[in-house]
Symmetry: none
DNA sequence: CTTGACAATAAGTTTTGACTTATATAATAT
DNA sequence: ATATTATATAAGTCAAAACTTATTGTCAAG
């Protein structure tokens, strides 16, 4: 479970639109498998499998409540991706070519911010 | 090219460690295909194919210089992912009441393993 | 103790992805 | 023109992903 494999798992988890939709739903609060499955045309096992992927990526955690297994968002995975993307973002801010630079600073001035 | 398919492409592009390494290299500045291929044991066509994926995701752009086709980072894709992740991050910050965590750890302890 | 609801797992199918080798194109140098 | 360098495309292979249906495990209610 090194950092790279976490990123593999996390980014590839988000590559699937169903899983992004599940996360978006969970961003509103805890939900059971059935609740998560409802909006989709997929079967319940399919959703369970997606959830397994999301858990493996550290993006979601499971709780036990009777026969239910409500899920909620987990910080771990989101933070890992966030940090990696921050690296790219930083590089983009630093390396942009002249044109980008001019355009970017013009944009920023509109908001009263200066780099 | 709607927003969702951009996200599909962008996240799935980042799911591959070779492609993340390519992006990390490009974060240091423009590079040709051969330069990008050098650190890997893969063949040149494999790298060209990875670059095609990255371009499709709007993460990388191509320039023409003689027979060379140097690549550099592009903002578009990074920003799209960034915004999506921001949504999750926000949800996590919002839901980060200690109550959730306390409940979670209580559940965990209560799990007394009865068969 | 049986039943029904909730969820996970198994096994099979079909797409999709990441490579390979071989070949093609395009600009540059000889 | 021909060769060389840089890259792209084509075609095929193999593994992994995303589903499906069928089945199983587990709890809680009657």
């Amino acid at each position: 479970m090194d950092a790279a494999s976490n990123l593999n798992a996390a980014f590839s988890a988000l590559a699937d639109p169903t899983r992004r939709a599940i996360l978006a739903r969970l961003a509103k609060g805890e939900a059971t498998v059935m609740e998560l499955a409802a909006p989709f045309e997929m079967t319940q096992p399919a959703i369970s499998q997606h959830l397994k992927v999301l858990e493996g990526a550290g993006l979601v955690v499971r709780r036990v409540d009777g026969t239910k297994r409500p899920r909620r968002l987990a910080k771990a995975g989101v933070e890992a991706m966030d940090q990696w993307l921050a690296m790219l973002r930083k590089a983009l801010e630093k390396n942009y070519d002249r044109l980008d630079e001019v355009l970017a600073s013009m944009e920023k001035q509109k908001r009263g911010e200066k780099r």
